[in-house]
């Protein structure tokens, strides 16, 4: 790309958000058909967090995600086909079908892992920051987690640990208002940002439906961590448009809430900015949608044809290396 002016950069982010959205919808459709076994935690509605933050990261940086991790995986550049194949339990999956939707690991793409235990991502990124600091190449580690996770022991222990050691880590709290089926305020005292602040960790809030805003705030926070200013904290205000996981009728949602948030769909927001503010032709955005749609169709067929892992590996695999 020669010109990476604001329009090109935003169109690129739009394209990557569209990939996440369509990927998640494909996973959902395949799940409903019984092709994706187990469970899935989709990030539909939260795409701007993944893309905004990933856009602020460089080659030395690392990221740890959660069971709701398809978005960050794609944002970091994990091969979409390999990611889909993992959901399908295929040998060609990014972890050979061993991990599944909740536990994807792809170190070659800077993804330390997606962690199925609430709080696990915080620990992983904190430790990665320890390593990155010692390596001295300016790398920053990012932990994604939800607002429900701030009540987990990992959160309290790791934030303090990182602060006293001045580790280069960004704690990225996606506040989508619900931990599973329980509203934030029913089980949480105080405000999210007060917790890092009481430890002296700089903390700010951002509109999680606006990818540009997320990217800008993430660039600032990652930059400060890179410059040796220690841990940083960002809370994104976002919303999950779909259920927590497989069986979730969403009875806990307040009336009209979902519809209201959908008006601020991160894809709608980005498209409006592209067309209305940056003068991009709507047809160009439509072309992106079609292109991704075609890619997804191909992925679907390839995934369903991909080979299953050979059970013989269970006899051959070792619990240990070497």
């Amino acid at each position: 790309m020669v010109d990476s002016g604001p329009a090109d950069a935003l169109l690129d982010m739009y394209r990557r958000m569209r990939l996440i959205r369509d990927f998640e919808e494909l996973v959902q459709a395949l799940f409903l058909k019984g092709e994706v076994p187990g469970t899935t935690h989709l990030c539909i509605g939260q795409e701007a967090d993944a893309i905004g933050v990933a856009s602020a990261l460089g080659d030395e940086d690392r990221l740890a995600g959660t069971y709701r991790g398809h978005g960050v995986a794609l944002a970091l550049g994990v091969d979409p086909q390999a990611l889909l194949d993992e959901m399908l339990g295929r040998a060609t999956g990014v972890c050979g079908g061993r991990a599944g939707s909740m536990n994807v690991i792809d170190l070659s793409n800077r993804l330390i892992g997606c962690f199925g235990i609430v709080g696990g991502s915080i620990a992983a990124a904190t430790g990665a920051a320890l390593s990155l600091k010692r390596q001295g190449r300016g790398g920053v580690a990012v932990a994604f987690f939800g607002e429900g996770t701030i009540n987990q022991g990992y959160f309290a222990e790791c934030l303090n640990f990182a602060q006293v050691l001045s580790l280069p880590v960004l704690y990225l709290c996606e506040n989508n208002r619900y931990g599973e089926f329980t509203p934030y305020e029913d089980v949480t005292a105080g405000e999210v940002l007060d917790r890092p602040r009481t430890l002296g960790i700089p903390a700010e809030q951002v509109d999680g439906m606006d990818v540009v805003a997320v990217r800008d705030v993430a660039e600032g926070a990652v930059g400060r961590a890179r410059d040796g200013e220690g841990p940083q904290f960002v809370e994104t205000l976002t919303y999950r448009f779909v259920g927590h996981s497989r069986a979730d009728p969403g009875a806990y949602r307040k009336q009209g809430e979902l519809e209201e948030w959908k008006l601020r769909d991160p894809l709608t927001v980005a498209r409006a900015r592209l067309v209305d503010e940056l003068g991009v032709d709507a047809g160009e955005v439509d072309a992106v949608d079609r292109e991704i749609g075609a890619q997804i169709d191909e992925m679907r067929s390839a995934g369903l044809e991909a080979p299953l892992p050979d059970p013989a590996l269970l006899a051959e695999a070792s619990e240990f290396k070497g």
Binding site: P37, G93, G97, R98, G100, T149, D186, T188, P311
Partner: protein, 322 residues
């Protein structure tokens, strides 16, 4: 006919009604009624003695302990057994020790309910059976029902028991239907599920059903297996196993759990020591010493199924007699 999950909610309902010191709390258990729909309606009926908690497993077990030694009889839910490590300290270092080291001033009447087990394609950290992690901790009882009737009777017994009890509910049993009666069942008692003269198969939870299915297949080949459901894994009913072995001479222990360090090894060791002269053969069928894989192609091969069990029995009996 009653579903296993109904048996659970019925036992909770009855014990909450019977004793106002019984309280029940956990993540998403009250308003949402539990992620496995095993606790709906309790909040409505019993009010604030049933409540949702933050995602704070250690606070859950810690508060259960503290309240149990000061007058309440808490029942808590740790959503998945895989989250037990986060909750373990209070169970292992407080609840399990208190009665003995307090010189018997006070016991710890608490129950931890938790959904466990593999076969649901949930991957390495939502499928484990945590029994071995706790088996070596004196002071904790471990209950593992296999039928709706036992689920109800044993949960009631656990709540009435004055000691800390871990009550494990296998995820693949929640939809199982069965007859329920009002006879109490004592913790620590096994049950003969099927009589047979040729060998004894001992298991728990899903393993019991696998063993019963295998026994039917074996019967068609003229091999009559006795199937014993241990129901409680600590304390173990060695006497029931020994009595059966004295009749059959052959003992197979089937455990859904790693080969090393499981309860099947304890059963085998106890029986070997106590009933050496009754033993013509004694062996175990377990899962490999590996994390539980996600892909159905791998998970199915990982778990001890009825066909494999029957085949193992056939070849073992032939090789021993030949």
């Amino acid at each position: 006919m009653v579903e296993f999950r109904e048996a659970i909610v019925t036992a909770l309902d009855e014990e909450l009604a019977a004793n106002e010191n019984v309280v029940f709390f956990g993540e998403d258990v009250a308003e949402p009624g539990g992620v496995f729909k095993a606790t709906p309606g309790l909040r409505k009926k019993h009010g604030d003695r049933v409540f949702d908690t933050p995602i704070s497993e250690l606070a859950l077990t810690g508060a259960a302990f503290g309240s149990a030694v000061t007058g309440l009889r808490p029942v808590i839910e740790i959503m998945f057994g895989d989250f037990m490590p986060l909750a373990m300290d209070s169970l292992v270092n407080q609840s399990a020790k208190y009665w003995f080291i307090s010189n018997e001033q006070q016991s710890v009447p608490l129950v931890v309910r938790s959904a466990i087990g593999a076969g649901s394609r949930l991957g390495a950290v939502h499928s484990q059976t945590p029994v071995p992690w706790f088996l070596g901790v004196p002071g904790l009882k471990i209950v593992c029902p296999s039928t709706p009737n036992d689920a109800r009777a044993l949960l009631k017994a656990a709540i009435r028991d004055d000691n800390p009890v871990l009550f494990f509910e296998h995820k693949r049993l929640y939809s199982l239907k069965g007859e329920v009666d009002d006879d109490p069942v004592e913790l620590g008692t096994a049950r003969v599920m099927r009589e047979g003269a040729d060998l004894t198969i001992v298991s728990a939870m899903v393993g019991v059903h696998v063993a019963l299915e295998a026994a039917e297949a074996l019967a068609r080949d003229g091999i009559e297996a006795e199937v014993i459901d241990l129901r409680t894994l600590r304390p173990l009913d060695h006497a029931a196993v020994a009595a059966s072995l004295a009749r059959t001479g052959h003992l197979l222990v089937v455990e859904e759990g790693p080969r090393t360090g499981g309860w099947s090894a304890t059963v085998a060791a106890e029986i070997a020591e106590g009933s050496l002269h009754d033993i013509d053969d004694l062996w175990r069928l377990t899962t490999p010493d590996l994390p539980i894989p996600f892909s159905p192609a791998l998970e199915d091969a990982f778990l001890p199924g009825a066909e494999r069990l029957a085949a193992a029995v056939r070849s073992r009996l032939v090789s021993r007699s030949g």
